[in-house]
Symmetry: C2
Subunit: 268 residues, 2 copies
Amino acid sequence: MDDAIRKKLFQNAKVWVYEAGDKIREQIHQQFKVDTKSNANDLVTEVDQSTEQYFQKQIKSHYPNHQLLGEEGYGDNVQSLDGTVWIVDPIDGTMNFVHQKRNFAISVGIYHDGVGEIGIIYNVMEDVLYTAVKGEGAFRNDKKLDLLSNEVQLETSIIALNSSLACENKRVNERKIQQLIKDSRGTRSYGSAALEFAFIAEGILDGYITMKLAPWDFAAGYILLNEVGGITVQANREPVNLLEGNTIVASNKQISERLLTDYIELKE
Amino acid sequence: MDDAIRKKLFQNAKVWVYEAGDKIREQIHQQFKVDTKSNANDLVTEVDQSTEQYFQKQIKSHYPNHQLLGEEGYGDNVQSLDGTVWIVDPIDGTMNFVHQKRNFAISVGIYHDGVGEIGIIYNVMEDVLYTAVKGEGAFRNDKKLDLLSNEVQLETSIIALNSSLACENKRVNERKIQQLIKDSRGTRSYGSAALEFAFIAEGILDGYITMKLAPWDFAAGYILLNEVGGITVQANREPVNLLEGNTIVASNKQISERLLTDYIELKE
């Protein structure tokens, strides 16, 4: 992608994310309809939907040739990463949005011919914007983030994971996850994959493991983490797939191999 | 306790908490020494210690007859709750303090003849002060918190717990905790007991379960939660003990009985 095009694209994306955040903050204390999707705990609200529609409208009017892959289905039926593809989660952490009215994010990843160009994660209620442009590093608001530490060890790491991974499940050997919980310094669970990626990029978490993540959950975080030297792979060591659901092991590079070797054993 | 005495005590405690928060913010980006206590992940810093010493000095100079029970041992050897006892955690969530430079709190609970009179939890980096005075309700900064909802059900609850409870352990049947993880809407883990109590009081979490909590971890949260109609008990259904370590089940009253009956089975 041409530098000038990327620069303008980044400016537009940032403006739209901030505008979407304004709209979310206007709606958050009003009544809104909550529905469920794949299961009783997979929530969606009118606000998720209207926010995605806002992005759809902006993208289609300014960049009619770009495709949109969005969580709520207002985008395109994206079959390939050819050209420019926006991968958008209008509200990542909808359960937090509904129950907590905070701790959720807008996540926007922009890919060109499969290469991550721009990643934006906006912690709406804290008004913290994480951004990354390929080759230019990552930022938390106006502050450039340091490259991740070379001195992180598993035993002094804090790992984000959902406690359900330590329970009997179909995807991963829970005994090894339980061992990880014992061997690491501590675990945390925040309920927003986008923010969990952002926290690794900031260095306040050292890793994040999840067995079921859609492209819109990590499309921005993957780019952000790349820019600070972090590693994101699937649990089977394959590169992440931007068109399908993924198992994800994202971490400081010092512990990535150890997480994959010692603590992740896929069942399927 | 006399109303006028309580009022003045509350004012002083608030001023000292804010001052202690100022000092912590001054020190947080400097180098500080980190040591370990009971195990390699039980951290303590110079800042925990100096903050507790600050409270000790203020309390002893203004209220020489009051006792201080503090995490770092600069207080008194408190053997009973007779008279007025300050129960202080200078930094609750020291692991967060060290690794994240946020998500920790100052926790101050003041008891008179065993009755909780004043609870203060200060999220230092967010500058959010949670306060409660017996019989006067609970506040988040200047906003009075609503009584907790009467409509909470286990299946739509968000429960805070450390993922280690789902692993083989000596204290509680992990199988039942795993069932709770499956039956509830979701779990979270933030790494600060005081904040997890505050979040229940706010209604953004519905419960918090932990098998090992010292009095300074919950002395303020217990009072805060009382004021909004929440319930805090030990896992064996005994009242909390302010002089010893406790198992804790804190929650919205609608789900307290169900948590205790269906999901908590003590091993010892």
